[in-house]
């Protein structure tokens, strides 16, 4: 099985922070895997995902994504960035644009510069957007403005934008933490099934261990910028789970996340 992402001994601290967000982290993810990142706020999940997306600077260590090494000083080239899709916790949609426009934004990395600036999609771009809309069950919302949608519908748009990109690696940063439990399971099912159908690797972070178990085949637990658990879904017992969240469950309501 080929490797989708490989992290070797990576450390990173946010400017001005006392403690590192990533502390000598090593991780290998195989192509086609569905991996859940578990851990409390501030454990380093968002930083790890941002690193793999090529948007983190000034880290130390070795990272290669889809067979290409990442450079700590420079963003990956445009065409490479399109191969890695990212689903944001707060959707990160352009609120005043239509659903279709937002989904087509996922195609910008696949278009030549001028076409991307003008925003005139080719028939290939439109077809990719159409398939993504249908797969996410929002084809009927295509002409609606995003600011008129519910939270669940917005996350469907964000996932459709990611799928339209035709990524081989999908990174999702707490994609369902702002949704109610029923909606959360629906969206995670949608994301992981769409990825499986496309043969894409998924790495998603979550606060909810039960959801993580249901929708992944491997769990990676993080705490204080380190990987403290890595195993199959069955290996993660209740004791290991509560250990991941110890120290932080005593301060409910306080968000310790270092990276937003």
């Amino acid at each position: 099985m080929s490797v989708a992402a490989q992290i070797g001994d990576v450390s990173f601290a946010h400017p001005g922070a006392d403690l590192p967000s990533l502390d000598r982290v090593s991780l290998t993810v195989s192509q086609g895997e569905s991996v859940a990142l578990l851990g409390a706020s501030g454990a380093g999940k968002t930083t790890l995902l941002t690193l793999l997306d090529g948007r983190l600077r000034d880290w130390r260590g070795r990272v290669s994504v889809l067979g290409m090494p990442l450079d700590p000083d420079n963003a990956p080239p445009r065409a490479r960035r399109a191969d890695t899709g990212f689903v944001f916790q707060e959707f990160a949609l352009v609120e005043r644009s239509t659903v279709l426009r937002n989904v087509l934004n996922g195609r910008l990395g696949r278009m030549p510069s001028l076409r991307a600036f003008v925003g005139s999609p080719s028939s290939l771009d439109l077809e990719a957007a159409r398939i993504a809309l249908v797969d996410c069950g929002i084809a009927d919302l295509a002409e609606r403005r995003v600011d008129s949608l519910s939270g669940g519908q917005r996350q469907r748009v964000a996932i459709a934008r990611c799928l339209a990109q035709e990524p081989r690696l999908i990174l999702a940063d707490e994609p369902v933490s702002s949704l109610d439990p029923a909606r959360a399971a629906e969206i995670l099912a949608l994301l992981t099934e769409a990825a499986r159908a496309r043969g894409a690797t998924v790495l998603f972070s979550s606060h909810q261990p039960d959801l993580a178990r249901r929708f992944s085949d491997r769990i990676v637990g993080m705490k204080g910028g380190r990987i403290v658990f890595d195993g199959g879904v069955a290996d993660l017992g209740d004791a290991a789970t509560s250990d991941l969240y110890r120290e932080t469950v005593t301060v409910p309501g306080i968000d310790l996340r270092a990276v937003n």
Binding site: A79, L108, G119
Partner: protein, 252 residues
């Protein structure tokens, strides 16, 4: 605490000193103030009733003021787009936006009427100096507004487009512009309203528009005609404000 009390005392002395200095050195005679009542009544009496025969001049002057405001605003928009981008923290580095912001503050500090007088000297009488003056003066505010509109957008969609592989210009077009467009529309309409209000007085220094007629009629003691033109100015200001309010509702 002690130094703070001292500070307030110093400010108090400064303000009191400024007021006393102004009263003592300005020629304010109580007798002139008391005799002013009948003279103001006489002045107002001569304004009434307003002379309606100047309607042609009002239309001509009003149309010219409107043209000055429209072309001046257009010029300001053209100048403000590049300057606004160069004054924004999101788009350029501090080495660029700091001096540009200082330049804009400098432009804002020069009153329109002063720019108009200089332009009359430079290009002669008529609406052209008025148009140039309005474009120049309005850019100081409009470019600052545009920069703030760019800096006020949500960063998350920009990151999302960067992640998807969009270049800087594509991000500007598809993530920043859709968010700032309604703000830019509102700011531009607001600035147009200000331009129209301010260009009403440009005629006084010979830079074109309806102000020319107020100036002429007051100088020649035709107060009834001046009153008609003044009324027309008030109506124009109220009309543009109403139009502004109606338009702003459309941009959300």
């Amino acid at each position: 605490m002690r130094s703070r009390g001292l500070g307030s005392f110093a400010v108090g002395v400064l303000v009191a000193g400024a007021v006393v200095w102004s009263i003592v050195t300005t020629d304010v005679e109580l007798s002139r103030l008391l005799s002013a009542g009948p003279r103001i009544a006489d002045f107002l009496g001569r304004m009434l009733p307003p002379d309606p025969t100047v309607v042609d001049e009002i239309i001509k002057g009003g149309a010219e003021t409107l043209r000055i405001a429209i072309l001046g605003s257009l010029g300001a928009v053209f100048l403000s787009v590049p300057l606004g981008i160069l004054a924004s923290e999101t788009m350029v580095s501090p080495a660029i936006y700091r001096p540009i912001r200082m330049l804009l503050a400098f432009i804002r500090a020069i009153p329109l009427i002063l720019v108009a007088m200089l332009m009359v000297g430079a290009v002669g009488l008529g609406p052209l100096p008025g148009i140039i003056a309005v474009a120049f003066h309005a850019t100081g505010m409009l470019a600052k507004f545009y920069a703030e509109a760019i800096d006020g957008v949500s960063r998350a969609p920009i990151s999302a487009l960067e992640s998807a592989g969009a270049g800087p210009l594509a991000r500007l077009r598809h993530a920043i512009w859709p968010q700032m467009a309604p703000v830019v529309a509102r700011d531009t309409i607001f600035r147009f309203e200000l331009n129209l209000r301010e260009s009403l007085v440009l005629g006084i220094v010979g830079a074109g528009g309806i102000g020319f007629y107020i100036q002429t009629y007051v100088r020649s003691f035709q107060y009834d005609k001046a009153a008609s033109v003044t009324l027309a100015v008030i109506v124009m200001v109220i009309a543009i404000e109403a139009l502004n309010v109606a338009l702003r509702r459309r941009f959300r």
